[in-house]
């Protein structure tokens, strides 16, 4: 009966999203709220992300014009980088995206001075690799990576350093013994915060889960990153509390078995919203 209800709800959600998408101009605020509360149906995900990230404007009848501009911009940048020999035929696609992003942000080094990617570049490349799995079309893929990264840094750049503290707080509500254990062993300070909070779980969660986390990030929540991190710690509590060395904990979390992580998102569904401290988290 539960699954029937979920299935039914899914159909209702899809219908209400379709109604929202027929409006002209689109109500971006409503789309944001929808995306905060429900996972986006996969057939509409890329389109909604493009609207939420401002790649497409709210007016449906502008989409083909603006889409054309976006394509031309992509082609101009790509062509110039090729002529300047920043990229060759064999250059991996994600590195192409990085160079394009750098050129557009005026961060491109001189060709004779290009260095191996630094930490910030590696964060970008991780997000790019994950986006590449989700979005096939290169023009869409590049624009989504670029706007995702820019929006994330603009909106949440100042909050990111505080997320580890926030994680500690929620863990103290949910599972004090685990928090204590992580503190005593020294693992708490070493948790993969960069992977969780700067790369938004890119390369950590499988595509199906990652998309749902990014639905929330794109529609304006960075708290979701903390909640997912807490759920991961809770899911592997027993294993983690049997690891005495903090390096072991970190190593395990950086290479989580991918099958189980899907369960993190599914498991949270049946909680009645009022009894769960994590509000909208239960709407998954």
């Amino acid at each position: 009966a539960y699954y029937e209800k979920v299935g039914f709800r899914g159909v209702e959600e899809k219908k209400s999203l379709e109604i929202l998408l027929k409006e002209n101009p689109l109500d971006v605020e409503k789309l944001n709220t929808f995306s905060q509360r429900f996972p986006l149906p996969s057939m509409y995900r890329i389109h909604v992300w493009k609207v939420l990230l401002g790649i497409l404007p709210p007016h449906n009848d502008s989409h083909s014009l603006v889409g054309g501009y976006r394509r031309e911009q992509y082609q101009d940048v790509l062509e110039a980088l090729t002529v300047m020999r920043f990229i060759q035929r064999a250059t991996p696609q994600t590195l192409v995206y990085l160079r394009m992003f750098q050129l557009e942000s005026q961060l491109l080094p001189r060709r004779s001075e290009t260095t191996p990617p630094d930490n910030k570049d590696e964060d970008f490349l991780s997000v790019a690799r994950a986006m590449e799995e989700i979005v096939e079309e290169p023009v869409d893929c590049y624009w989504l990576i670029k706007c995702f990264v820019n929006q994330f840094n603009n909106r949440f750049g100042d909050s990111i350093p505080h997320l580890p503290k926030s994680l500690e707080y929620y863990l103290s509500l949910e599972e004090p013994p685990l928090l204590n254990y992580l503190k005593i062993t020294g693992a708490l300070a070493m948790l993969p915060y960069g992977l969780w909070f700067r790369r938004c779980f890119a390369g950590c969660l499988p595509e199906s889960s990652l998309q749902r986390v990014w639905d929330k990030v794109i529609s304006g929540s960075c708290k979701i990153l903390v909640f997912v991190a807490v759920e991961i710690l809770l899911l592997y509590k027993i294993m983690l509390m049997n690891m005495s060395r903090p390096e072991g904990v970190v190593n395990f979390l950086c290479n989580m078995p991918q099958e189980n992580t899907d369960a993190i998102l599914e498991d949270t569904r049946p909680h009645p919203p009022t009894q769960h401290p994590m509000g909208f988290w239960t709407k998954w």
Partner: protein
């Protein structure tokens, strides 16, 4: 309704301007790279001339 028309126009203009701005960044980068290449070419020519005149001396 008027506001609607205005905001639609504004969004279109912004997208067009973003395309223009990207092109501006491209021309800047192209010019920097070209300056560098020209200086490299000059150095090469200089070296080549020198080695030519050197080998001339030996003959």
């Amino acid at each position: 309704f008027l506001e609607d028309v205005k905001s639609q126009a504004k969004n279109q203009l912004q997208a067009s301007e973003s395309r223009y701005l990207a092109l501006r960044r491209i021309t800047q980068t192209l010019q920097m790279e070209m300056l560098h290449l020209y200086s490299q070419l000059d150095t090469n020519t200089l070296t080549a001339n020198r080695s030519l005149s050197n080998s001339g001396g030996i003959e």
